[in-house]
């Protein structure tokens, strides 16, 4: 019982972070049909910027996080303007490759500035444990879940009521119609990258806090985004959230119950990914417009 509660909670916490990262990925895909392989590097940027503002400059941590997230948003917009804008209308492989090249470039820049040795993260989430259903659970995981939920709620409100949010939904729905209604598609793309950078950064910051350190390992989560979005449906925001939670839980249980020397936690998401692609490629909530061969 104790193990189940622990595994469930850590699964949900990881899943919530996956969902955050996947959310940005889905937003970019929905608005501009770009598959972003550099999502993991966006996580790293958020984590390292926070490390810089809080630990190196010494800002009060909420302020440091806000500054870091804003900087990340600016970087997201710059990436869109400089790298992806020239490739509009190019074949899928060009767009995939340019984001791959981008991820390599970003990792080199991050490595050049901060080095590769893992750094101890600033301690801003409380690290004590509380007892829940007879199991001791780290408070930082609960915080991670709460913060992720808050961000989801804010984003839902943004899409529901704000002008930009409605414009983004319009562009995702029908780009031609949105254009003819006077919506600036370019602005929507920029906003999508900014939001993706923000959600990824928050994910990176939460991971940094849970791992207790920041290193290139955080970027691994960028690959896990693929099982999540395929499971949820590549163009579905609720899908990203549900998919994130499912993958997080499965990973946690596979890692906890199957023999640890197998390291099943690493490979289970990708086995699921292959199965989903074979059985139901549009995922749980995606639109069924997969072109069949």
């Amino acid at each position: 019982m104790e193990k189940i509660v622990q595994l469930t909670l850590s699964g949900i916490a990881n899943g919530a972070i996956f969902a955050l990262v996947a959310l940005g990925f889905v937003l970019i895909y929905k608005s501009s049909d770009v598959i972003n392989f550099a999502q993991g590097e966006l996580l790293l940027i958020g984590a390292y910027l926070t490390y810089t503002t809080v630990e190196m400059i010494g800002l009060w941590w909420p302020l440091g996080v806000i500054v870091a997230v804003l900087l990340a948003a600016i970087i997201g917009v710059l990436i869109e303007q400089l790298v992806l804008r020239p490739l509009i209308g190019e074949p899928v492989i060009s767009v995939i490759m340019v984001t791959i090249g981008l991820s390599s470039l970003l990792r080199a820049i991050i490595g050049g500035i901060w080095g590769v040795t893992p750094r101890t993260a600033p301690q801003f989430l409380p690290r004590d444990t509380i007892t829940l259903f007879g199991a001791s659970v780290g408070v930082d995981r609960l915080w991670a879940i709460a913060l992720a939920l808050t961000l989801f709620a804010l984003l839902t409100l943004f899409f529901r009521y704000s002008r930009e949010g409605i414009a983004m939904r319009a562009v995702a729905d029908d780009q031609q119609a949105a254009l003819s209604m006077g919506i600036s598609v370019k602005k929507v793309w920029a906003v999508a990258w900014a939001i993706a950078a923000v959600t990824a950064s928050v994910g990176g910051i939460l991971l940094m806090s849970i791992f207790g350190g920041v290193s290139g390992q955080i970027a691994r989560v960028g690959l896990l985004v693929f099982p999540v979005v395929i499971l949820g449906g590549l163009d579905s925001i609720p899908g990203a959230i549900v998919g994130g939670l499912i993958i997080g839980l499965l990973q946690s249980f596979a890692g906890g119950y199957l023999p640890p020397e197998l390291g099943m936690g690493e490979v289970v998401p990708f086995i699921i990914l292959l199965l989903i692609l074979l059985i139901r490629p549009y995922g749980l909530y995606g639109q069924r417009i997969i072109e069949r061969v």
Binding site: I35, V83, P86, L87, E90, V92, I93, S94, I96, M97, V98, I100, G101, L102, S103, S104, L105, L106, R107, A108, I109, G111, G112, L223, F226, P227, I230, E261, L262, G263, E266, V267, F270, I271, L273, L274, L277, L278, P281, I290, E291, R292, V293
Partner: protein, 352 residues
């Protein structure tokens, strides 16, 4: 000089190299390849071997991505299958390389066809993501390979490097002997693949790339030819992997991660998609770029003392930047740049 395309027989129309100037170039290249190893030192021989092996792998990937239009991010995994098959055969069964390399290539072709099965239902980016899963699963099998009995790395016995009972060590130093093997394999690969795309099978691949539904309508069995493309592509990946295993003598899974898959994709994008010579240019570019940068770094290390500490990042950044710049400014790759140069001189001085 050549002023147009004039063919008077079907044979000359079908020829791969119809013009004398093209044949002259082939002869010059072949002579250069023959002379090179006698003058080069081990550093350059090593680079040449690396390029030749990479070019074989890149040509393989180009069959799948450039000619058939199926994006694969799993090429590194297939290289690993080839390398480990050859390695395990040499270690466990004491097989010599002239048996292990062909067997490993064929086995990799089978594995590739298996992971090509999702292409029956998927295309475009969904297929790309499926091959990403294949890559991760293969690497997981290797890192948790207690079932296969593989440790962190695998050392091949020196005795395995013999051709028909003749130990390679007797023929000269390792780099020099392998130069003939890798370049020989590369030339065979080039001849085979260039001719493949003049055959029914190759034309079917190109038809699938250009418009799969139309291809099906004119009678191309999509399932069969896509699997065949995966198998052919993986065959050369297996060949490149097996050659790496025997040449280096030691293999570990770190050489075959997703970064390797990306490196090979970058080679064919930068060299030129759907072009055999482009694959070779791309392989050379991607192998020489980091070597050139580290030479540059050594040259300026007197003025910039910290440069060596930053070298890995500079190499990685240059890699990423090269991909981005090529995609933005010359999406058709080096082969197109080379063609532009040739076209300029072909019509010079009356280029209008």
């Amino acid at each position: 000089m050549q002023s147009g395309t004039f063919h008077t027989s079907y044979a000359s129309d079908m020829a791969l190299r119809p013009y004398w100037i093209q044949r002259l170039r082939i002869v010059i290249v072949l002579i250069a390849l023959l002379i090179f190893p006698w003058f080069a030192d081990r550093y350059w021989l090593n680079l040449a071997n690396t390029i030749a092996i990479a070019a074989i792998g890149a040509i393989g990937l180009n069959i799948l991505v450039g000619y058939t239009g199926q994006i694969s991010i799993g090429h590194g995994g297939f290289l690993a299958v080839g390398a480990y098959t050859a390695g395990l055969m040499a270690v466990r069964l004491d097989m010599p390389m002239w048996i292990t390399i062909p067997v490993a290539s064929c086995f990799t072709a089978l594995v590739g066809a298996f992971f090509g099965l999702p292409s029956v239902r998927l295309k475009g980016l969904y297929l790309a993501i499926a091959t990403l899963a294949a890559q991760e699963i293969i690497i997981w099998l290797l890192t948790h390979g207690k079932l296969l009995g593989i440790g962190e790395s695998l050392s091949l016995p020196r005795a395995a490097n013999n051709l028909f009972g003749m130990p390679l060590a007797d023929l000269g130093n390792n780099d020099f002997v392998f130069y003939w093997i890798t370049v020989g394999c590369l030339i065979l690969t080039v001849i085979f693949v260039s001719n493949l795309f003049r055959s029914r099978t190759g034309r079917a691949f190109v038809a699938i790339r250009d418009q799969d539904i139309a291809a099906q309508v004119i009678g191309v069995d999509l399932f069969r030819y896509k699997l065949l493309a995966f198998a052919a592509s993986s065959f050369f990946a297996g060949l490149a992997g097996a050659l790496t295993a025997h040449y280096r003598g030691i293999i570990s899974w770190e050489r075959f991660t997703i970064d390797t898959s990306i490196l090979y994709l970058a080679m064919i994008i930068i060299g030129g998609l759907g072009s055999v010579s482009g694959s070779i240019y791309g392989a050379a570019f991607m192998t020489l770029l980091p070597a050139l940068l580290s030479n540059l770094a050594r040259a300026v290390s007197g003025f910039v003392p910290d440069i060596n500490a930053y070298l890995p990042y500079i190499q990685q950044g240059a890699f990423g930047l090269a991909i981005i710049l090529f995609l933005i400014f010359e999406p058709e790759g080096i082969v197109k740049m080379w063609r532009n140069v040739k076209d300029y001189f072909r019509l010079w001085p009356f280029s209008y």
